[in-house]
Symmetry: C2
Subunit: 276 residues, 2 copies
């Protein structure tokens, strides 16, 4: 555009800010783009901040100084979070999900970009103060959830593999027992994938006993990483978990294979203080 009215500027600024969560945009960049005074830009930002705040859909953070600017930090309110998770709980109770052995078919949920986008906003809200360097998940089903969180936290994703492939370079491997299958599994991560001492958020789709999560934590210890959080989309109420602290978005309280019945409830996320 050549001439920017305030109304057009507000639309474009909202677009620009929401497109790059957590990225600092200098006020001078906006002033230049819109041929406007910094004071006008500040007024526009106040309007945007008021709307985001009123709708509990995130906030703008302004940083003063020469290297300063403004950035959008995504958020989601309690009411919207509960709506999203109640819908997810309801979808999880579809008896058609029950697979032999009492496992649940969840690939359709993990393929739903709208659900994932909402869950990403929830992860970003829960872990917004955790100073994360990188999000780590394990192939295959954890990957979409990790990326959903990554977009809203603007952090890179690193994927732990079950097999080592030629295209990864040298790798570190640990052995672990999967809680859901009871089978021995190897978890591998390319040496160059993760810098030593990184602060890591672990994201996965499902936690039964927590064997995979514990294996991931062991593997990350080899990289001297600090695990600042563990989050899963679904956990089960039994058995007792092998990891101490984790956040679940939903909990499966009962799977009755014979009666074709699944009971679910919202997970432990509201006990974690992120929403208080």
């Amino acid at each position: 555009m050549e001439k920017w009215k305030r109304s057009a500027r507000l639309v474009d600024m909202t677009h620009q800010l929401l497109n790059v969560p957590y990225q600092l945009i200098p006020l001078t960049a906006f002033a230049k783009r819109y041929h406007a005074a910094k004071s006008s830009i500040s007024e526009d930002l106040t309007i945007i901040q008021e709307v985001l705040h009123a709708e509990q859909s995130g906030q703008l953070e302004t940083m003063a100084g020469a290297s300063g600017g403004v950035r959008y930090m995504p958020g989601i309110g309690v009411v919207e979070t509960k709506e999203v998770l109640e819908r997810l709980c309801k979808r999880l109770t579809d008896p058609e999900r029950i697979l032999p052995g009492g496992f649940l078919f969840m690939s359709d949920l993990l393929g739903d970009p709208v659900l994932l986008h909402s869950l990403g906003r929830i992860w970003a809200k829960i872990f917004s103060h955790s100073k994360i360097d990188v999000i780590v998940t394990v192939e295959t089903k954890g990957i979409p959830l990790a990326y959903a969180a990554a977009f809203h936290l603007r952090k890179p994703v690193v994927i732990v593999r079950y097999d080592t492939t030629v295209t990864e370079g040298s790798v570190v491997t640990v052995n672990t027992v999967s809680g859901s299958s009871g089978r021995m599994k190897q978890l591998s991560l390319a040496r160059r994938s993760l810098a030593k001492g990184s602060r890591v958020l672990v994201i996965d789709d499902y936690m039964k006993a927590g064997g995979t999560a514990r294996g991931m934590i062991e593997l990350l210890r080899e990289f001297e990483a600090e695990v600042v959080g563990v989050g899963v989309m679904v956990d089960s109420i039994v058995p007792e978990k092998l990891v101490d602290n984790y956040v679940s978005l939903t909990t499966v309280t009962e799977v009755d294979e014979k009666e074709k019945r699944i009971h679910t409830t919202i997970g432990n996320l509201f006990d974690q203080g992120a929403y208080s």
Copy 2:
């Protein structure tokens, strides 16, 4: 908010629309939310459309009638597309990427949420008229790219697996030879993952000979699916490909393992008519 000024309304509408690409929002929903006349809403939408159009960052599509409404269709202009891909080309030429055998380390790129978000907008632009039902990729590295496309096309993702696991139910399997490793591989897809006759966009990270892509097409034939497009982030200029039509975003023209040299160029996407 209780009272919505036009400026606040514009910010919130932009936010609402951009959050759900391709989803139709009824004008009555906006009118109710903002306690405003439909005519005012229409004026607001005109302003948003003008900005998106001027900045080539997508468009609003308005549908008339009782079931009508407005939806945001993401887009990206030629200039921004070239900027994104030239930056990607440059990152690909880092000689540190060369792994034994002339393979390239790309996990860092596939873990970068900002790059992925941009590539997703490019896929959405290229395939915006392809009437896609579902996006199919193969584990593990194609997954983030598929989700990036999925968010902007608002279509579900289905993941083809190299192994069959207990949590998927009954599966269909084909044998294929990987062009990059020369090894025989099995590709598997759960029967319930994909409805018969689906229109499929295949997305993957890398195409060398195209063996995996051809295997995917064979597998999809078992589901009577129609492959309406194949897209890869990177292809190599040699060898000749086993699939006829595909879109590449970047092309590796030379990998000299001894001299530690990589040459890249923008892929064939501009030959495909999507940007004309």
